[in-house]
């Protein structure tokens, strides 16, 4: 959603024109060769240039983990903080300074395990930050333990016989926390990643972007089943606002309503026509269908990428600001002393 404020910002910035390099710091990037983070970082530089907010007005906040090193590679304001707390820190930063564009970088461990509480509350509060959730379903920096998004049975160093617990589906948490923006991409899908980053930045309120990311060292092929070249067309669907939900090598497949659920069909077979295929609407307030789409796992139904939900709602920091303005103008105290003299019982000693 593009609201009027963003529109005017974009117009102001249109003249300035920033290049991706303007957002890039001089620090050498230390991720493992082949890590999905490299691609995401490069796309982020490009997305920021497209969004056009100046580096001096951009702040990138991260927690702890491989992906959380990202702020050091940005030529913006930035904080590399403590494990799990990026959402809380970003909330304070944005509330204090609504004029800044604030990004949060978290991995699945940082954002959904130790930082799970801050994550759901940032989403519920609808603070206008852009949360990039790098999901590689593993703890990389501590060298390979299972994370809250690891599949049941995942064999890792801390689960040598396989995990005995179910994972979080990040989208489900976002909907549970009454989120208004959810998008997904895969590290290798560069254009889609840029598209969803830009959409997230333009959305007013908490935006969550899940980026499925490969860990070459500890979880090689974490999303191979859906992202390998020969499999991608059949196992993913790129959702676009106002367009039919089609996928497949020749866009011959579509999603249709099936009772309370969704079903993949081939257009022209079993009596299904193009008219039966659903049209994507990310902006509809009811999140029932968004949830259904976000929960597709790439196995029986294709994994949805692109902007799945994008609904306008009141954002926290703006409401705080409005309340401050309205209370201030109503009461009109000049300063602390004026307030005390106006509201407290006082007496004068001559």
């Amino acid at each position: 959603m593009v609201n009027s404020k963003d529109k005017s910002d974009m117009e102001n910035n249109a003249e300035k024109r920033f290049a991706p390099a303007d957002y890039k710091s001089e620090q050498s990037v230390r991720w493992c060769p082949g890590c999905g983070d490299h691609a995401i970082l490069n796309v982020l530089h490009k997305a920021m240039a497209e969004i056009g907010v100046a580096p001096k007005d951009t702040a990138v906040v991260s927690g702890i983990g491989c992906s959380s090193r990202l702020p050091y590679y940005m030529n913006t304001y930035g904080m590399h903080t403590i494990h799990g707390r990026a959402a809380a820190i970003a909330t304070g930063l944005k509330t204090a300074r609504p004029d800044l564009t604030v990004w949060q970088i978290s991995g699945d461990g940082d954002g959904l395990a130790i930082g799970g509480n801050h994550f759901i509350h940032a989403v519920r509060r609808n603070i206008d930050i852009n949360i990039l959730l790098f999901n590689n379903k593993i703890y990389g920096l501590t060298k390979g333990q299972y994370s809250p998004t690891s599949d049941r049975g995942a064999v890792t160093k801390s689960s040598p016989y396989g995990t005995t617990e179910d994972p979080f589906i990040p989208a489900e948490l976002v909907f549970g926390a009454r989120g208004n923006f959810f998008a997904r991409s895969i590290d290798i899908a560069l254009d889609t990643t840029k598209e969803v980053m830009v959409a997230a930045a333009r959305h007013k309120g908490a935006s969550v972007v899940e980026i499925r990311q490969n860990c070459v060292i500890f979880n090689q092929g974490s999303h191979a089943a859906i992202s390998d070249k020969e499999r991608r067309a059949e196992h993913t669907i790129h959702l676009r606002q106002g367009e039919k939900m089609l996928f497949g090598e020749n866009m011959e497949k579509g999603l249709v309503q099936d009772g309370f659920g969704l079903k993949a069909v081939t257009v022209g077979q079993d009596g299904y026509t193009i008219d039966d295929v659903l049209v994507h609407d990310a902006t509809t307030p009811t999140n029932f269908l968004h949830q259904q789409l976000a929960m597709m796992d790439g196995d029986t139904l294709p994994l949805a990428i692109g902007v799945i939900r994008d609904v306008e709602a009141l954002s926290y920091e703006e409401e705080v600001e409005h309340q401050v303005e309205s209370v201030r103008s109503k009461k009109g105290y000049k300063n602390l002393r004026d307030m005390i003299l106006s509201t407290s019982e006082t007496w004068t000693v001559e």
Binding site: S25, Q27, P55, K56, D57, A59, V61, I64, P71, Y72, M74, N75, T76, Y77, G78, M79, H80, T81, I82, R85, A88, I89, A90, T91, G92, L93, K94, T95, A96, R97, D99, L100, N117, H118, H121, V320, Q323, V324, V327, R328, K330, K331, Y333, N335, L336, R337, M339, I340, L341, S344, E345, T346, W347, T348, V349, E350
Partner: protein, 615 residues
């Protein structure tokens, strides 16, 4: 009014109001202390309330108390009460121990019903005899009956009528203190300006209380309180938590940085959040976060964004915030952490007072993580020290922990509303454009080792901070051991140099004596009064109260070294004594300790000092 033959003049008088939580004892106490303050008395108040929100009516556990001390030279709410108001038999039973020998009791005799007596666990139907109270010192007033008669034509329902009982007690107190009811009525009129009917009813009840005392109890001695002259100005009655909130607002005005509070409800610190939440009318952003950790972390984010950032909590919350505070130490960001200490460990005694978080504040973080620790001495000193905490945080780019406690946070005193020029400007340590142009690095420092504050939006000063160690020259991440040690020492030295920017330790009392009584934080009033008493009874003692704990005032160790006996009195098992002992290895630090969840009594300190010096 009494003929005056029986009027005693006293320097100060302590009144303790007690009853059920819903009896409005705090309101009656507040009005009484404010009226006295308006007539020139010093005041000190202290509420003593149960942890339960609404314990069963009439039960022993449901009794709450509110003690006020008014008069001349008032520094504490008083050890014991001259007058005890007890609204029911449970209050009488639990509060009798706070009454001075020979003190007066005012009690609602209408509540001496079998059911009430049973709830309060009396064995007989005569509480006065059972508790061994001298019948000449107790006024058994049929308050409920009087109340019903007074308001029978008011058209009020019985429940609303009963709510006025506290005002009947207040009327009796006015009579007892030889004080006309007019000034009380003026306060009430203000309070109920929008509810004239409520005012009328309360006014009638106060007068009825006064008349009852006057007509029936002329044999009881009444009191006249001495007043004293204080600095001219506008005064108000303020408790420590409100004063803390206001001190922070003052610092925001004096520094030009907007005030941000990230907090989470916790007894007894929540009133700071309440007050700052109201102060949106002064531009304050007070955010109730999802937990204690988010409280401190949102403040750290706001600090990086350029605000005067604060988080408020009590002991258990401080424990949760430790890692966040460590980040502020490492990133060298200004941050004010308020810890309103309560009884611990763990959930402990949430509504009671203690000074047991000192070591946690000084050392409760991983790694070498020095920061500045301050402590407020009284309810009104909370204002000054909150301002100081903000000033030091902003001018020295460091987290500062301010320790207050449940006693001074809830207690109140009369306070002169500061004038514009009473507090200095606070100068944020901004990076200037010149420095940015010359290749500024985020951990470049001035001669006091303080780094510069580059607020987002500043052109050319984009930079990253974080919890990882930084290179001393380039400010980039560094894992080099030698570099780390240098940075550890710099952070330590930066805090040590704050000593050049704080007042020296003041010594009062018999400065030349060979004994010094030492305290810190909220015990000031009790220690001060104990010092006065000791000196007045031929036991010369000097006295010093610490408000700056880390770093210590520059002259502190030298001053203390000059005394033969150093006696540290504190509400813990000896944390500050241990801290001083570490700095003064050659000296034996003597101790007076109490960990009962209650403030000191003056006599406990007097006795403790005498015991030490007579050895």
């Amino acid at each position: 009014m009494l003929s005056g033959t029986n009027v005693k003049t006293l320097d100060r008088v302590v009144v303790r109001f007690s009853g059920d939580s819903g009896d409005g004892m705090q309101l009656a106490g507040n009005i009484f202390s404010n009226v006295s303050a308006g007539e020139g008395s010093q005041i000190s108040t202290f509420p003593d309330y149960p942890a339960e929100i609404r314990a069963p009516q009439g039960s022993l556990s449901g009794v709450s108390g509110f003690q006020v001390n008014v008069g001349k030279g008032v520094h504490t709410p008083g050890d014991e009460a001259d007058v005890l108001v007890a609204m029911n038999p449970a209050a009488l039973k639990t509060n009798l121990k706070f009454l001075k020998p020979g003190g007066i009791i005012i009690c609602d005799v209408d509540t001496f019903r079998p059911a009430d007596l049973k709830k309060a666990q009396y064995a007989t139907d005569d509480p006065v005899t059972e508790l061994g109270i001298n019948p000449d010192r107790i006024m058994l007033v049929p308050m409920t009956t009087l109340l019903k008669h007074t308001l029978e034509d008011s058209g009020m329902d019985p429940k609303s009528i009963l709510k006025c009982k506290n005002m009947l007690a207040l009327g009796l107190i006015c009579w007892l203190f030889d004080s006309p009811v007019e000034s009380v009525l003026r306060k009430l009129q203000k309070k109920f300006a929008k509810k004239p009917a409520v005012y009328e009813a309360n006014a009638k009840v106060i007068q009825a209380g006064w008349d009852y005392g006057h007509n029936t109890h002329s044999s009881m001695p009444t009191y006249r309180i001495e007043t004293e002259s204080v600095k001219p100005g506008v005064y108000t009655d303020v408790n420590g938590n409100t004063a803390t909130a206001w001190g922070l607002i003052m610092a925001s005005e004096k520094s030009g940085r907007p005030l941000f509070l990230g907090s989470y409800p916790i007894t007894p610190a929540t009133d700071i959040l309440h007050e700052l939440a109201k102060r949106k009318d002064l531009g304050v952003k007070a955010c109730q976060m999802e937990d204690e950790i988010a409280g401190v972390c949102s403040a750290i984010g706001a600090s990086y964004a350029g605000d005067l950032a604060v988080t408020s909590t009590s002991g258990p919350g401080l424990a949760l915030k430790s890692e966040g505070i460590g980040l502020a130490v490492m990133a060298e960001l200004p941050l004010v952490v308020i810890d309103v200490q309560r009884g611990g460990p763990s959930t402990g005694l949430p509504t009671k007072t203690e000074q047991t978080d000192l070591m946690q504040a000084l050392y409760g973080r991983n790694g070498e993580s020095p920061l500045c620790v301050l402590a407020a001495a009284s309810p009104t000193d909370c204002f000054t020290m909150a301002f100081e905490a903000a000033r030091i945080a902003i001018e020295h780019m460091t987290p500062v922990i301010l320790l207050t406690d449940a006693f001074i946070a809830n207690g109140s005193s009369a306070w002169r509303v500061p004038e514009e020029e009473d507090f200095p400007e606070i100068k944020p340590h901004y990076v200037d454009a010149n420095r940015v142009e010359q290749g500024w690095k985020p951990f470049d420092r001035d001669e006091n080792l303080v780094r510069y504050w580059a607020i987002p939006g500043t052109e050319g000063a984009m930079h990253r901070v974080g919890g990882l160690e930084k290179d001393i020259k380039t400010s980039a991440i560094s894992t080099d051991g030698k570099n780390h040690e240098k940075m550890v020492n710099i952070r330590r030295e930066k805090i040590a140099r704050i000593a050049d920017d704080i007042p020296e330790l003041q010594v009062n009392g018999a400065v030349d004596s060979d004994t010094i009584l030492v305290g810190w934080g909220g015990t000031y009033g009790h220690l001060f009064t104990a010092t006065e008493e000791l000196n007045a009874t031929g036991n010369p003692v000097a006295f010093a109260q610490f408000r700056y704990i880390n770093p210590l005032p520059k002259n502190a160790l030298e001053v203390l070294s000059g005394y033969k006996n150093i006696i540290v009195a504190e509400l813990n098992t000896g944390q500050f004594a241990d801290y001083l002992q570490m700095h003064l290895p050659g000296k034996e630090i003597l101790r007076i300790n109490k960990v009962e969840g209650q403030p000191f009594m003056v006599r406990e300190i007097v006795d403790g000092v005498l015991k030490h010096i007579k050895k």
